[in-house]
Symmetry: C2
């Protein structure tokens, strides 16, 4: 459907790599939706060019330069820079419904059925499960909602310093109001859950639909040996499930690196 889209965000070249893998994973699983990537002005030309090959729409969002309410809001809360950029997704009003996905997520099957859900649908956060995790959520673009979100940010800030705190503060009845707005956890499966409650992962993890590499160490923080198909460094000590990490790198090395090479040409580029 032309009026529905998956949306992600990358403010720099590292997260842009994540967005490339995410977009490619959605394409590989034959999504029928549009793909939109919001980028910050720091994303390099070659990365923008690769993103354009994968995404239908690339939109540069420079909150600092916008001169509008978003800019004013950010002057009052300069700590919330990336958050304001993420909230920008509500202005994509040429779509009637969207699914936002963090650039550190990857789909492992088609998830177009998420568009049957209403705003704001999201999966519980492992850790504090009455909060939703803001790495995957269904929303309806609306200038009005965007304005209210900015006002909320300015007035209340974010209890965790990021978008998850703002969105949970704003959509504060998520935990108690409507079960259909609780996405199954397999739509936002983070490695942290695997290590906290391994038997549940073994029981239900096989149905995973979206993997979320939540936390400090992102897939692109590792290095990968494409010949041996192995990640270097002690993956078992890290917070990421080895097989998901390998899936990410297999897609990155197989499909994204060749596109990056074409863009960078002879220029050296950092492959991981």
């Amino acid at each position: 459907m032309a009026d529905q889209a998956f949306v992600t965000l990358a403010t720099n070249d590292s997260y842009a790599r994540g967005a490339m893998v995410l977009g490619k994973s959605l394409r590989n699983h034959n999504t029928s939706k549009k793909l939109v990537v919001l980028i910050g002005p720091q994303v390099s030309e070659p990365c923008q060019a690769v993103l354009k090959r994968i995404y239908d729409e690339l939109k540069v969002v420079d909150v600092l330069d916008s001169g509008d309410t978003a800019h004013l809001a950010m002057m009052k809360r300069p700590d919330l820079g990336v958050t304001f950029t993420k909230l920008h997704c509500w202005t994509l009003t040429h779509y009637t419904k969207c699914v936002f996905m963090d650039a550190d997520t990857m789909v492992v099957s088609n998830i177009d059925e998420l568009f049957d859900r209403e705003e704001l649908s999201a999966a519980p956060d492992p850790g504090w499960p009455d909060c939703f995790n803001s790495g995957v959520f269904v929303f309806r673009p609306s200038v009005e909602t965007h304005g209210k979100l900015l006002a909320f940010c300015t007035e209340h800030g974010s209890f965790d310093g990021g978008d998850q705190g703002v969105l949970n503060g704003f959509f504060s009845d998520w935990a108690t109001a409507d079960i259909s707005k609780h996405l199954p956890f397999i739509y936002n499966l983070s490695s942290i859950a695997i290590y906290t409650y391994l038997p549940a992962f073994k029981q239900y993890g096989g149905n995973a639909k979206v993997v979320h590499f939540l936390g400090k160490t992102k897939p692109w923080s590792y290095t990968f040996d494409p010949k041996a198909k192995r990640i270097s460094g002690n993956v078992h000590e890290a917070a990421t499930h080895p097989s998901f990490l390998l899936d990410w790198w297999t897609l990155y090395a197989g499909s994204i690196v060749p596109m990056l090479h074409q863009q960078y040409g002879d220029q050296p580029f950092h492959s991981g």
Copy 2:
């Protein structure tokens, strides 16, 4: 109400100490419900005597000795001993509704409002939040349900080796069916959540109603200096929030130890 009860379980003297603190915490917050403790045959006479002073009803459950379907079920799944004892709570049919609470929980306010909920109501498990945590749950005693649970156990076992796996397997639509059966997380607040997502704890933890000392190290595993009102050992390295642990020990040292002393008389007893 005489036909509603809080129910807990202790199969040995360590968990019995937990049950004593839990029962006392419920009394201190003026519950109007009955208090029931299921105990295993290993719980010592003096501990039973103290439990009797706090609880309205003490019931010895010896699944091994029962000669009924529970015994038969356990012969097939000897690994699930404590689980079968816990499931025994469904046979308390002289109550129409009950709230089960693990012996390693403690209430920090009156929670009688939980009896407005229906079977099976429980809070999400931090870790795998589409599972409920079986440390606090609302249920309706029923011989029929008890029989079905035993049959389920025998046939499917428990994916995590304990009662939580069995109960989540049996009440498998909890995550998706009815939001009113999702107890707010503050009714089963485990320390693990505090360390996984500290900003959320700072934001919402002040409303805690039930603290759950989930995991390997229980409050009674520490030692306490009642004069200095301090826990010995490195509490910060442990998985338990220091102030909740101190609350537990304050209640234990102040109200339970004197009762234990009366029962044990001159006999030495291990105070922590």
